[in-house]
């Protein structure tokens, strides 16, 4: 029977290579994953594990100062994950289980962090609650030290709770109300139903949200740079090693130390999610969800939620206001100086460059994600699961590490000495001085690999909702794989494509950690300019950048909605199914 397994794989490859377009797609995707995701990652690992770095490892893992940095990173990760998951759960619960006013507003406020640049929240928090804070000093008259673990946890939680909120809201909506009804029918009170049915069913979702936030929190660079103070984490250490000390070796060693918990937690999260399918076996809710009416529960949770919303509104209000006044809290005179700087002055190049590069990367990331999803869900080939996993590494690996990987692989062109042909440039120089397209190509590639994982997940979710027979019907009627994908699959997963494009654009515009080492004088990126302005305490300029950035993202969302369309034209057939 051994030869049947082999024959099966031969057959699978025969099938794929019979269709040249499919073969090229698979080859292209594999090359993309291998050269642009795995190669940089392995370079970082290889560099960090080279024998000359052994003493560094020993120092970093034994000396208290470095142990502290590692501990700080993990503590920040756990605290942020705990707070974010709690807030996310609160928001999701209020949305799904309570009948209260302002739900739509709460939802929108909870989504703002997706389109918000890094530093925006951190900077606003400094302006509001710092030593000279508008609230801490201005209202209460205290010189509060916001820098450090508390401020960081606050800023990160306010940015990352969205992840937990969306995960948990989806899960709560997918919960079959019949289960609640059954428990109630058996005589359980609301609290008992929540404790014995709802909560256990949501446990995988809660765990998964916690782990997702943890991975993002320990990878975050922007907030610790601005709000860290003396509280150092691995990401900032890596940044300083490269930017301040030009020390690739120690940066690589720190990267590996950061990579290990990131990947372990990511794999654990995947495992939990893969096992928690029980939650939505039936797909669509069969009964009507019952709201919780107990006034105490209802209004306490509502009050909590509104308080957080108020804080979010305050922070984003500060950003907008701060962009229009000289120095918020010090000199509150109206000015357009900051906008002039961004739109017409030194800042405008960064604005245009960033937008242009994001516009290039967005469709590439969206379509690539859908294509990989199509291959992973619909085609059988050796290494399918590996392709999925390797693509997901684009987001599971902290951005700083990807940046270093790019420096390691692409800072010098890779030239192979081939017989007959002579030297052939296999991989061009993409980063540093004299890089291809002034380093812009490297940034576009990083944007793409950071966005593809989300598109892949959205595509996989949408595809698993569509009967494969529909695509088989197309093939049976004579269409090849390319035509089937273009004419049948893509239109049917249009909502997922739209979501992926929006997300890809927003992420590209707001990313910092992955591109911070890749910008060159020829290619300026907004997020990095914001960092510059914040570090030089020109908060007004930073806020103006943030406002402009948010406006660009919102405009893009509008354009994408109109251009791509959010419907498939088959809505009634897939009622509620495509989302």
């Amino acid at each position: 029977m051994q030869n049947f397994a082999l024959q099966r794989q031969v057959n699978q490859f025969r099938r794929i290579f019979q269709d040249p377009v499919l073969a090229i797609a698979l080859l292209g995707v594999s090359l993309f994953v291998f050269i642009l995701i795995l190669l940089p990652l392995f370079s970082v690992i290889g560099e960090s594990l080279s024998p000359k770095n052994a003493p560094l490892f020993q120092r970093y893992l034994t000396e208290p100062i470095y142990q502290n940095i590692i501990l700080n990173t993990l503590v920040l990760g756990v605290l942020t994950a705990a707070v974010s998951t709690a807030v996310g759960f609160l928001f999701a619960f209020v949305q799904v289980k309570l009948d209260v006013p302002f739900k739509r507003l709460m939802h929108i406020l909870a989504l703002i962090p997706i389109i918000s640049p890094p530093f925006a929240v951190a900077t606003a928090i400094i302006v509001l609650f710092g030593r000279n804070g508008v609230i801490t000093r201005g209202v209460f008259g205290v010189r509060f030290d916001i820098y450090g673990l508390f401020g960081l946890t606050l800023a990160l939680s306010l940015s990352l709770f969205t992840v937990a909120y969306l995960t948990l809201r989806g899960m709560m909506q997918a919960l079959d109300p019949a289960l609640d009804e059954a428990a109630t029918n058996l005589g359980a009170g609301k609290w008992r139903v929540f404790r014995t049915v709802t909560l256990p069913m949501l446990l995988p979702g809660i765990a998964s949200a916690f782990l997702l936030v943890f991975v993002e929190a320990i990878a975050d660079l922007g907030n610790p740079l601005v709000l860290g103070g003396n509280f150092e984490v691995l990401a900032t250490r890596i940044y300083i090693s490269i930017i301040g000390l030009y020390d690739t070796s120690s940066a690589a060693v720190f990267s590996l130390i950061l990579l290990v918990p990131s990947l372990l937690v990511f794999i654990l999260q995947n495992y939990i999610i893969s096992r928690s399918n029980v939650v939505s076996v039936t797909g669509k809710p069969s009964g009507t969800p019952q709201y919780i009416h107990a006034p105490l529960v209802r209004w306490t949770l509502f009050g909590l939620c509104m308080a957080i919303c108020l804080l979010i509104a305050l922070i984003y209000g500060t950003i907008v206001l701060g962009a229009f006044v000289e120095v918020l809290g010090v000199n509150n005179n109206f000015t357009l100086r900051h906008f002039d700087f961004v739109l017409n002055g030194l800042g405008s190049k960064a604005m245009w460059d960033t937008t242009r590069l994001s516009i290039i990367s967005t469709p590439v990331a969206g379509l690539l994600g859908m294509l990989i999803a199509f291959l992973v869900v619909r085609k059988e080939f050796f290494g399918r699961a590996a392709l999925d996993f390797a693509t997901m590494l684009g987001i599971a690996v902290p951005g700083t590490i990807i940046g270093i990987g790019f420096l390691l692989v692409f800072n010098t062109p890779t030239v192979w000495e081939l017989p007959f042909f002579g030297p052939v440039t296999v991989l061009p120089k993409l980063t540093g001085g004299q890089a291809m397209f002034g380093g812009a190509l490297a940034i576009v590639i990083v944007y793409v690999i950071r966005s593809v994982p989300t598109a892949l997940r959205a595509g996989v979710a949408a595809l698993t909702q569509i009967d494969p027979a529909i695509e088989e019907a197309s093939v049976s009627l004579g269409a090849d794989n390319a035509r089937t994908f273009r004419r049948i699959t893509l239109p049917l997963i249009r909502p997922a494509l739209l979501a992926s494009l929006i997300f890809a654009f927003a992420r590209s515009m707001t990313t910092i950690s992955a591109i911070v080492f890749l910008t060159t004088p020829q290619t300026r990126i907004m997020t990095q300019q914001i960092l510059n302005e914040v570090e030089n305490v020109r908060y007004g300029n930073a806020f103006a950048y943030c406002v402009i950035l948010i406006l660009i993202v919102l405009t893009a969302i509008g354009v994408l909605y109109l251009g791509v369309g959010s419907t498939t034209g088959a809505e009634r057939a897939f009622q509620g199914g495509a989302r």
Binding site: N11, Q18, A469, I470, A473, V475, S476, L477, T568
Partner: protein
């Protein structure tokens, strides 16, 4: 009836093995299947779920590749040809209509793929829609159609391709009972009119009987019997076929003699002769369809006890106890005959020509 007809499709020792889900080991879904399908005939693959009929169809369509064996379309080896290059069209169980395209675009899809000129496409789509009675619904989306209409679109979408072979994968199983009968008759009429070579997969034996020129009964990945509906019903070659197609009583016989290809034996008090089964089995049983048995108020006949009586209008169905065996007896048109009550005793007899001998073990 098949002599002199040309072979359209030949399945030559096809075997398909799937790895078992989640575990070690393999499942043999199609096991050494060899079959000729003639031009213009309507052939049905019939069997219980898991018998390999759908896998066989998917091998023919090209969605699966066989581990062994060959598929020949008009003598040409197409075993490894991709499905979109095969001149066949498949009507899916769930219709698999393109939900984002209108009826017209659904039907035109295959012709557009072939790159035919727009005018030709318009004409042919129009003809086919008229053929299946869908004129006027061109601009509807599939979700605006009833189940029967969706089924017709699925059929039209395949017919318009004028394929060399039309494949059906349980196309009626999603329709309600009444509509199923109606669509069955429409498919029957269309196929007889257009003479499209058709391979039809179903687990519904009535559907198979109603539609087919020939039926292929499958079990456990193997072909049990191939024959016309009357052949399959009257002379099943195995107990499985007898049991799966319609209902059957198996009665023990007292063999008195074997002469060449016939056997002489006693059955229910009568002596008679019948052809021996081809398999040449040692232990024989007699198969009698329920309608071949009759109950009479006659004390001279072997006596049975009535266990259950079900009045069904056009017939009465009895379950009776004969010695240590339960038999099913169906009396058609019971208007002029007395209906036996549960608990009564009656004499049992049968139509001698209906007796069919089978090997006991098979």
């Amino acid at each position: 009836m098949n002599e002199g007809q040309t072979v359209r499709l030949r399945l030559d020792h096809l075997t398909k093995i799937f790895p078992q889900r989640g575990g070690k080991g393999n499942v043999v879904a199609v096991d050494d299947v060899t079959l000729d399908i003639y031009s213009g005939e309507f052939i049905t693959l019939l069997g219980p779920s898991g018998c390999g009929k759908t896998t066989t169809l998917r091998l023919i369509a090209g969605f699966e590749l066989p581990n062994q064996g060959q598929i020949l379309l008009e003598g040409q080896d197409i075993t490894h040809q991709p499905p979109n290059k095969r001149d066949m069209a498949l009507v899916f169980q769930n219709y698999a209509l393109f939900p984002h395209l209108t009826v017209y675009r659904n039907v035109a899809y295959g012709l557009e793929t072939r790159g035919l000129p727009a005018r030709t496409i318009r004409e042919r789509v129009g003809e086919v829609l008229a053929l299946v009675g869908l004129e006027g619904l061109e601009d509807r989306r599939p979700n605006q159609l009833s189940g029967g209409q969706q089924q017709r679109v699925a059929l039209a979408r395949c017919l318009v391709m004028q394929p060399r072979i039309l494949l059906f994968d349980e196309p009626l199983s999603n329709l309600d009972a009444k509509l199923r009968v109606q669509m069955r008759s429409e498919i029957h009429a269309l196929q007889r009119r257009l003479h499209i070579t058709s391979i039809y997969v179903t687990h519904d034996q009535t559907e198979a009987m109603a539609l087919s020129d020939r039926i292929v009964v499958m079990n456990g990945g193997r072909i049990e019997q191939v024959g016309s509906p009357p052949e399959i019903y009257r002379c099943p070659s195995t107990r499985f076929v007898a049991d799966f197609i319609g209902r059957a009583n198996f009665l023990p016989i007292e063999l008195t003699a074997r002469q060449g290809e016939t056997a002489a034996f006693h059955l229910l008090g009568q002596s008679l002769r019948a052809p021996l089964p081809a398999s040449g089995a040692e232990n024989l049983v007699a198969m009698l369809r329920p309608e071949a048995l009759m109950l009479r108020d006659d004390p001279d006949l072997p006596q049975v006890q009535i266990i259950q009586t079900m009045y069904l209008g056009s017939e009465v169905e009895y379950v009776v106890q004969h010695e240590d065996q339960r038999l099913i007896v169906v009396e058609h048109d019971p208007r002029n005959r007395r209906i036996f009550a549960e608990g009564e005793r009656a004499g049992v007899t049968f139509v001698p020509e209906a007796v069919h001998l089978l090997g006991d073990g098979a």
